[in-house]
Amino acid sequence: MDASLDAAVLACDGEAPQAMLPEPAREDPGTAMPQSPEALLDALFIEAFQELLAEYPIEVVPTQALEVTTPAPHVAMRSIVRASGPGLKLESVLLADVDFLAAVHPLSGDELTTSNLQDWAGELNNQLMGRLKTKCLMRDCAFELTVPKLATGSGLRTHLSRSCNYRHHRAMLPEGRMCLSLAATVDPDFVLADSATETAEVMTEGSFSFF
C-alpha cells in the first residue's frame, strides 16, 4: 500500500468558468432545503455521505473546480456508480487516496491489501448511492443502481461525461483525502419533494426484517 501520499493528492485542475459551474443551490427562506432538484439531490448526497461515515471526523467542503485529478505519481482509487429512473440520471464518482480508504475501511490495517482498498472504494460508493436512493424513495422517486466501476492509478479524473455538470466536494480526514462528485441530469418535469415522507415500506440503513 502506498502510504506516502501528501496534501497534493486530489489537487484541483483549476477553477471552472462561471458558465460551466452547476446551478447554485437556492435557499427557500422558510426551509433549510435547496429548491432545484439538482441542488436537493446534491444536498441529500452529501447528507448520505456524512451519515455513512458518521463515526469519522470528516470535513466535507464544496469545491468550484471543474474537475479533480490525482497528480502523478500518487496512486488513488476511483469508483463510479450510475443510477437511472424516470426523468433522472445520476453519476456518483468517488476518488480517494489510499490513506483515506484505509482510514475508513472496516478491517484493521494489518489485513488491508490494495485489492481490499479498491473494493472498498466501490462498496463505499454503492452504500452511499443506496442511502441516496432510500432518501429519494421517501420523496417518491425511485431509480436503479449499477454495480460500481473501479479504477486504480495516478492521474485519475472525476469529470468523465462531457454532457454532465458535476458538483464536487472534498472530504478530508487527517489521514487522507477524497473527492466526492455527483452529476445529476433531470428532465424539466422531474419533481423531487422537498421533504421526506416516513413510510414503513422503505427499509432504511441498518434495519432488518424476517419475512
Binding site: 455513512l52 452504500q127 443506496g130 422503505v202 440503513e205 434495519s207 424476517f210
Partner: protein, 122 residues
C-alpha cells in the same frame, strides 16, 4: 461440526466483514462473488446450511439467484437472507416472493446477523 454459511457479495470487503462476524460465532463460511457463482456453490456444497446474499451484483443479481436456487425442490428449505444497500419495497417483495427469508440493509449489525444465522440454522 460448525454450520456452513455461504456469503454471496461482489464486495470482498463485505464478504470479509460478514465472514469475520460469523467465524467469531463459530460458523464456517464459503464465499461467492456473484449470483451465478452463488447458485453453483449451493449445488456443489451440500453442507451449506444458510445463504447471506447481496442484491446488486454482476452476472446474476441476488434476487435472480434466489429464484434459481429456490426453483429446485432440494433447496426449498435452504434459508436465504438478503444483505444489501437497497431498501426499495418492490425489491423486497420480489425477494420474498422468490423465497428469501429476510432482508437486512447495510451497513449490518454483526450481532443481529449472528442472531439471525443461529435462528435460521437451528
Amino acid at each position: 461440526m460448525p454450520k456452513t454459511i455461504l456469503i454471496v457479495d461482489d464486495s470482498s470487503s463485505v464478504r470479509q466483514q460478514v465472514a469475520n462476524a460469523l467465524h467469531a460465532a463459530g460458523f464456517s463460511t464459503v464465499e461467492a462473488e456473484d449470483g451465478r457463482q452463488g447458485a453453483a456453490a449451493v449445488e456443489q456444497n451440500p453442507a451449506i446450511a444458510m445463504v447471506v446474499c447481496d442484491v446488486n451484483m454482476p452476472h446474476m443479481n441476488g434476487i435472480e439467484m434466489v429464484q434459481a436456487v429456490k426453483c429446485k425442490p432440494q433447496f426449498s428449505k435452504l434459508p436465504i437472507l438478503m444483505l444489501t444497500t437497497e431498501g426499495q419495497p418492490a425489491l423486497i417483495k420480489q425477494a420474498k416472493a422468490a423465497g428469501a427469508v429476510g432482508w437486512m440493509v447495510k451497513p449490518f449489525n454483526a450481532g443481529q446477523l449472528v442472531a439471525a444465522a443461529k435462528q435460521l440454522t437451528q
